[in-house]
């Protein structure tokens, strides 16, 4: 395992370093805002004690919101990406900052404050000359806590399409690449540790009170500021680039591969730059709103999902409705379907072989009698979709004993470990061939068609018509078995999605 991790780390060092930098950037911006804003709030509520209780109450409440739902709340307001991640991280970082500033200031010996007042200090002078310096040790320990917490928490930022080492973790989980997950986690831990050591060093330096030490401190502080400005400057210069197409993908192995294909082809055939946000958590429910606000330009979507989830039709989608689908996308969202890959990634139900034999299960209808003894597993959004769990149960009169929310990337593990008995699969799942499961027959034609194609904003297509040529090359390019094979390459053979995408394009003479 260690060897594997070392291998993947050295092999993809650029990838990890980029994520590390992004992680540092997201965390540091949040930390900085939290220090300034939280410090200010802490000072204000200490100066105006009446406001302390309600303010701390509100901040405590915000702190108890689970991070996943916090991100969910924020997406409608600030979309997906770094901004939302920074807002969420800042909110969490506020509590330790505000509380420690408040505690530090209110715990200053009142006799000292009276002495300062009696000697003729103004309120501001007391605050800056007496209270803040004396509260500093408490504030510093708050900052240390908060920094470690924020760096760790920034790992979930990738869930909503932000960067950082969470991307490696999430991608590792989604594509069954444990080594990548482990490297990502270790790097986060390492980063948190280094920052803590650094802050400990700063804290110790601040406590040194000799004249010489203070001079050294000043020199070091100035040096640190210069280094930070230098880094910030170089980052800003680097971001001035040519026109960029924002591509999003859902957290599914095949979407990672499709995303890489789009990236490779667009950058090869046009002058455009591609910014690829892989594996946006929540899939369609988070990507579609971001498409509507223009944060993303293109993403691979499935026709049936578009029909039921985006257009919110109740009925079953068949490919006869494709013209209607295109029309409504165009009218409602000004988006187009271009470059239909050709494969149909529809849902299917599988049961463990052992269970299938025990209850003699062959079709979905057979499940009816056995369902109450079985545990049903599916990814989060299956339970929410119009064409998901409820509709399935209603059509076949199923009533499962238990249901379990699973991450797409972990569900085969769950069924192989007997944690669940029945689960939803995709017909292109790479792991399907290696799992000891039986695929049941959809005898009532419950599942609609899910042909994969690209949804693109019409404005983008008008602005860069060259995209049309690129996307049309994808028409009918990939069959179900092609896709399943590519998924297998990534998930089981641990190949990189980009390599798999390149190999496939090369074998179809699309690479120059």
């Amino acid at each position: 395992m260690l060897q594997e991790m070392w291998f993947i780390f050295t092999d993809r060092i650029d990838f990890f370093l980029k994520l590390l930098l992004e992680h540092l950037e997201i965390s540091l911006i949040s930390i900085l805002i939290a220090i300034l804003f939280g410090g200010l709030v802490g000072i204000l509520i200490s100066e105006f004690q009446k406001t302390a209780k309600p303010t701390l109450g509100v901040i405590n409440f915000l702190y108890t919101i689970p991070s996943i739902s916090m991100l969910g709340f924020l997406i409608p307001f600030s979309g997906v990406g770094n901004a939302t991640a920074i807002i969420a991280l800042t909110v969490y970082a506020l509590l330790p900052m505000v509380r420690n500033t408040h505690t530090g200031i209110t715990n200053v010996d009142p006799a000292i404050l009276e002495a300062a007042k009696g000697m003729g200090s103004t309120r501001t002078q007391i605050l800056f000359k007496i209270k803040l310096p004396l509260a500093m040790p408490v504030i510093m320990s708050g900052i240390r806590n908060m920094v470690t917490m924020t760096i760790a928490l920034a790992g979930i930022a990738s869930f909503i399409g932000a960067g950082g080492l969470g991307v490696a973790i999430y991608r590792g989980i989604t594509t069954n690449n444990t080594a990548m997950t482990m490297v990502g986690s270790l790097l986060i831990a390492l980063l948190a540790l280094i920052m803590d050591v650094l802050l400990g060093f700063i804290e110790r330096r601040m406590n040194k009170r000799s004249v010489k030490a203070k001079k050294t401190n000043k020199v070091m502080a100035v040096a640190a500021v210069i280094v930070c400005l230098g880094i910030a400057g170089s980052v800003l210069i680097n971001t001035q680039q040519k026109d960029t197409i924002q591509i999003a993908t859902k957290p599914m192995t095949e979407q990672y591969v499709l995303g890489e294909m789009l990236d490779i082809l667009i950058e090869q055939d046009t002058n455009l730059n591609v910014e690829l946000t892989q594996g946006v958590g929540g899939g369609t429910s988070n990507i579609q709103p971001a498409m509507e606000t223009g944060e993303f330009d293109i993403y691979p979507e499935y026709t049936g999902t578009g029909w039921n989830m985006v257009l919110k039709h109740d009925g079953l989608y068949t490919e006869d409705l494709f013209d209607e689908l295109e029309k409504e996308y165009s009218e409602q969202f000004n988006m187009k379907w271009v470059g239909m890959y050709g494969f149909n990634n529809t849902y299917g139900l599988v049961v463990r072989r052992e269970i299938a034999e025990k209850y003699n299960l062959k079709t979905y209808s057979d499940l009816k009698s056995a369902a109450s003894n079985l545990t049903f597993g599916a990814e989060y959004d299956f339970f929410e979709r119009e064409d998901g769990y409820d509709a399935l149960c209603e059509t076949y009169g199923l009533n499962f004993g238990k249901t379990m929310d699973l991450d797409i990337g972990l569900k085969y593990q769950a069924i192989n470990q007997d944690k669940i008995d029945v689960m939803v699969i995709f017909t292109t799942d790479g792991q399907l061939s290696t799992s000891d499961v039986v695929v049941l027959e959809d005898d009532k034609q419950f599942y609609p068609s899910y042909i994969c194609g690209n949804v693109i904003r019409a404005e983008v297509l008008e602005e860069y018509p060259e995209l049309n040529t690129v996307l049309e090359k994808l028409n009918g390019l990939i069959t179900d078995s092609n896709m399943a094979a590519m998924n297998y390459s990534v998930e089981t053979e641990n190949k990189e999605p980009r390599d798999v995408a390149e190999d496939f394009l090369r074998s179809h003479n699309l690479l120059q």
Partner: protein, 271 residues
């Protein structure tokens, strides 16, 4: 003589509880007033009214003839030295920074002047120059008190308020500090208000002693008058022991020149 501080009809109450009532007092420039009384008698309250840390419920206080209600409180305080029990030095500042605290509030620019003032006052209170860069935690109790006095005096105020400043130091150090403070008073002619609960300290330091009980003035007189003719039972009880420092029987007390009952009390201070 000019009046430095005047209390006129002062009343102070916290809700139902009256701390001071009908408090009238006039203090002349250059006096060293010691204020003594049981705890809770309002002596600290009276002291803190002079620099506006506590505002009277009714009545007026005049400093240098001006009603302090009409004065900028911050400016008022900067011209009044203030030293309180314990040392209450700022723990995050060096001796030098502590002493130059008020001068820095007054004039930020003139660093040279502040530096000279620090040196001057350190010398006067008997602190050696090499303690300048020490922090309060690195000083002895006596040294801390000295820094506290230097800090209160650093901006050369006309009035110095002291609230049991020597409460926390040992007997020997206290005697040294008392002697030094007395000397400073004589040299500078500053008006001092000094709260204490130690009657011998009050008698030793004060040019006049204010005895308070239950928010009222029992007696305001020179130390020798206090000893010779206590105005009330309370004062009598308070000075009883001090009258007997000669350890003579009652009927022979007058033959002891230090007892306070004899005619000559001039040497009291030299005790």
């Amino acid at each position: 003589m000019e009046t430095a501080i005047e209390f006129k009809n002062i009343k102070k109450s916290y809700g139902e509880k009256v701390v001071l009532e009908g408090f009238n007092l006039s203090i002349e420039k250059g006096e060293f007033i010691t204020i003594i009384g049981s705890s809770g008698c309002g002596k600290t309250t009276a002291l803190k009214m002079v620099n506006g840390l506590i505002h009277p419920t009714s009545g007026d206080i005049f400093v240098d003839g001006e009603n302090i209600r009409n004065k900028n409180q911050t400016q008022l305080r900067r011209n009044i030295g203030y030293a309180i029990q314990g040392s209450v030095l700022f723990p995050h500042m060096t001796v030098e920074q502590n002493i130059s605290y008020v001068p820095n509030l007054l004039n930020k620019r003139d660093k040279e002047k502040t530096k000279n003032a620090v040196s001057k006052w350190m010398k006067i209170v008997g602190l050696s120059e090499d303690l300048k860069h020490r922090y309060p935690s690195e000083l002895s109790g006596g040294q801390q008190q000295r820094v506290g006095i230097a800090r209160a005096l650093a901006a050369s105020p006309d009035i110095l308020l002291m609230d049991e400043p020597f409460g926390a130091v040992d007997e020997i150090t206290r005697r040294q500090l008392q002697a030094e403070l007395k000397q400073i008073h004589e040299q500078t002619g500053i008006t001092v208000l000094f709260v204490t609960h130690d009657i011998s300290e009050a008698l030793k330091l004060g040019t006049k002693v204010l005895v308070m009980n239950d928010g009222k003035i029992e007696q305001f007189a020179k130390p020798e008058d206090l000893l010779r003719s206590p105005a009330t039972e309370f004062v009598k009880e308070l000075v009883k022991k001090e009258r007997r420092t000669c350890y003579l029987p009652e009927d022979q007390l007058s033959s002891c020149e230090f007892s306070g009952t004899s005619g000559k009390v001039s040497s009291f201070d030299a005790r």
